[in-house]
Amino acid sequence: MGYTLQLERRLSTNWKQAVFTPILSVLAALAAGAVFLLIEGFDPISVYRELFDASFTSKFGITDTLTIAVPLILTGLAAAVVFRMNLFNIGAEGQLYLGAIFGSWAGLALTDGLPTVAGVGLVLVFAAMGGAVWALPAAVFKAFFGTSEIITTLMLTFIALFLMRYLIFGSSSYWRDPETTNFPQGKRVPTSARFELFGDTRLHWGIVVALGIVMLVWVLIRFTSLGFDMNVVGSSPASAAYAGISTRRTVIVALLLSGALGGLAGGAEVAGRAYALDPNGLELGLGFTGIVVAALARYHPFGIVIVATFIAGLRNGGIALQGLPGERVPVEVSLMLQGAILLCAIGGDIFARNRLRLVRTAPQNVEAAS
């Protein structure tokens, strides 16, 4: 007689699992991180407390966290809208750069003298276009030739990265500020192209825009025919063909939408924080982190808001940890925790989808056999 552990597929997943699984995953990741902190000679409890305090307990901590959350919400959405249909646009990073390039161009060229709403609106529209333009080659090659979008979007990211650096560091482009020759910088956009700030904090109206876009994406996925088509194409291409839903069209539209969301993140960074095409201020891996955000949120728009805020808090706190007197906890701690959280989230997913059962193996009934 013995016991075995069995995974049993759940017939349905309910909201409780959807909520508790990520929370437990995060706790497991913190526990794993604590091991490494202990090895390094830090007290994990106090490090975590500092981390939390720095990001979530003070007014400036919270508003800084939310400021970092703005682009993460948008890149998270960019990943989520396509990942949920098994289309892996991992190039939100590059789409963000293109969004920043397009958005800052619009800010510099078109918005002078306009009211803020119109100016920022133009920046965002151009940013979205820039992101979509950058997703277009990947979308077309995917739809018509089946080229892996994972490869194309990743490669396009590097092109975007070096294009942005070239525009500022390598040339006297329109974007470069001609007055700073020693250390090249982007030309700063006029105030009409900048989000207004909340009081004396660094938090800008981009958070409101991002939340509005979360709602729009949710409605699109849940209630429109386009969202329905995306669902069908993603989960059963044969059904899509059967029902006359054009897989090609849907794949292209979805990837363009994803690119546009990534581009918006770049636009929001230009209008809300960087105020210029600034490679140093934009090369933060916001696009790649969006993938983590989307995965942790199980591709749900509302979940993305929560997860993006949480990850933003980690980043924010990670920076603050460095400034601690005495302890000198490296900033990498927050990156390590991010990685650990992703791993634990993927692991946690198995438990959300399956039920773990302790099964007593049936006792052998020899008499019954005779």
Binding site: A241, Y242, G244
Partner: protein
């Protein structure tokens, strides 16, 4: 073919313990009891059929006998001693081998390579000649001619099945479990299989035959255990029973096994002319001409893989034919896509229910939306009401309208699909042409009867109905006219009442009926 000899043989060795037996086995899956306290035994030298509707628990029982599943309660007993099988490999080590309905062969490997694949008793350095000799010897002994060098990908379905059987025999199985082995075979191949089965029992092997086809069960088996809803409802010797009695045991009430014929208005609803579909240089459909009149059911018979799937797809607009035209309700829809075909009045039930007809990951409500016309916003309210209505009217066993389609059994999935596709057939603005692939495949007798009723009703409402099926009995019981598809061509066509069974069988096997006469 009287099975009485074998049956008599088994009587004489009654004193021996059964080759394999299940004693009070119970197996539960989330939400269902697949087997409830089942007793079953096969003697050495006999063919014992497990008969039952789909979902009755036949395959679950077989899976426990061969080691694929472990019983929650009860025991599997081999030659009188209890067994605790951990895997099918473990089963094989005890001489128990299963031939699955869906073959588990590697296309790019040869027959010999497939046979030794996963065989733990092979030496570290494989001796190919020894394997080939052994395979040939087994083939000779049991009437299973296979070429050990042939690649699986080049073999017909019947030949592949032979390889599967040779494989378990090669591993030394004395107990063979055959899961619906005839589903994919032509009538002559079925005969050849039965010869093999008899050769095996004559050599003292025990064969468990799983089927729901009453005719075959009567002709091949010595005894029959009938299952319903996970319970054994009877065990009878075939010599002392009749098809009718077995059918009643299977469904628990008497079944009408008759057919109805319709009267057609003569108006053509669906018409294909000179339809050609190619794959690179291979011809999948070769100049198919086909008319289906309003108020008539035309059945396409044929063995799997002779162009049925492509025909359905070309007619439904999912695939564009290389040549020829498709006309639905007087509208030429050739190459204009699945939506155009639907707008012209088509309803289509594909053979693959979960995965094509239904999206497994979507709710029943959303699946109702799949082929509906949709505006910018989807109308879930109506779809939900449709799903609710379908669950009630079609007696669909589902947790609710928001359950994912993947949780449905095959029969219930088919009902959902039919509910969606047939809801408005014959009504003004509704579909006038219905194409159905394998409508009752995998369905239990009760559900199959219900589905046949729906198709008859569609015909009575004036629809032109095309039934494409690899199950000849199904085609014969439904259709007013039958066309046989062989290698992408219509090999034979005529009124169902006038075509003889052997004529159809030969056309399905590629024999020109004119030659035989």
């Amino acid at each position: 073919m009287p099975p009485s000899e074998a049956a008599a043989g088994s009587e004489t060795v009654r004193s021996r313990p059964p080759a394999i037996a299940a004693v009070g086995v119970t197996k539960r899956f989330p939400g269902v009891i697949a087997n409830a306290d089942v007793d079953f035994h096969v003697d050495v030298g006999e063919v014992h059929t497990i008969l039952g509707e789909n979902g009755a628990g036949k395959s679950t029982l077989a899976a426990m006998l061969c080691g694929l599943y472990r019983p929650d309660e009860g025991t599997v007993v081999r030659d009188g001693s209890p067994l605790r099988l951990r895997s099918p490999r473990d089963g094989l080590a005890h001489g128990i081998g299963m031939v699955h309905q869906h073959f588990r062969l590697v296309d790019r490997f040869t027959v010999a390579e497939n046979i030794i694949l996963g065989d733990p008793t092979q030496p570290w350095l494989i001796d190919p000649e020894a394997v080939e000799d052994e395979v040939a010897a087994i083939g000779e002994r049991f009437g299973l001619p296979v070429d050990p060098h042939a690649r699986i990908g080049d073999l017909t379905v019947g030949q592949r099945q032979r390889v599967e059987i040779v494989k378990v025999l090669y591993r030394g199985a004395d107990v063979l479990l055959l899961d619906e082995p005839t589903a994919v075979l032509t009538p002559p191949e079925v005969e050849a299989l039965f010869v093999t089965v008899r050769a095996m029992v004559a050599e003292g092997k025990a064969v468990v035959f799983i089927s729901h086809k009453l005719g075959e069960v009567m002709s091949v088996s010595d005894r029959v255990t009938v299952m319903r809803n996970g319970h054994v409802t009877g065990e009878v010797a075939t010599a002392n029973t009749s098809q009718r009695e077995l059918a009643e045991l299977m469904v628990g009430r008497s079944v009408v096994l008759e057919t109805r014929r319709g009267t057609t208005s003569g108006e053509v609803g669906l018409s294909a002319a000179g339809l050609v579909v190619r794959d690179d240089d291979q011809v999948a459909l070769d100049h198919v001409d086909l008319d289906v009149n309003q108020g008539e059911i035309v059945g396409i018979a044929g063995v799997a893989g002779n162009g049925q799937r492509r025909l359905a797809r070309a007619l439904a607009g999912i695939e564009t034919p290389a040549e020829g035209t498709v006309v639905i309700g007087g509208v030429d829809v050739t190459g204009r896509g699945a939506l155009a075909a639907r707008r012209a009045g088509l309803a289509f039930v594909p053979e693959d229910r979960l995965g094509t007809g239904l999206v497994p990951g979507l709710s029943l409500t959303d699946n109702m939306l799949l082929t509906r016309r949709r505006a910018f916003f989807v109308d879930r309210k109506t779809a939900r009401a449709d799903a609710e209505q379908a669950i009630v009217e079609y007696e669909i066993k589902a947790p609710g309208t928001e359950a994912e389609a993947r949780v449905l059994s095959g029969g219930n999935a088919q009902k959902v699909l039919l509910a969606r596709e047939l809801a408005e057939v014959g009504e003004p603005g509704g579909p006038q042409v219905v194409i159905v692939s394998s409508p009752t495949r995998g369905l239990d007798v009760g559900a199959a009867e219900f589905v046949r009723g729906l198709l008859h009703e569609a015909r009575e409402r004036g629809a032109a109905v095309l039934v494409i099926s690899e199950d000849l009995d199904e085609v014969r019981s439904l259709a007013d006219r039958i066309a046989v598809l062989y290698r992408g061509r219509i090999a034979l066509e005529g009124p169902a009442d006038e075509l003889r069974l052997d004529e159809i069988g030969m056309a399905m096997a590629g024999v020109d009926p004119a030659e035989v006469r």
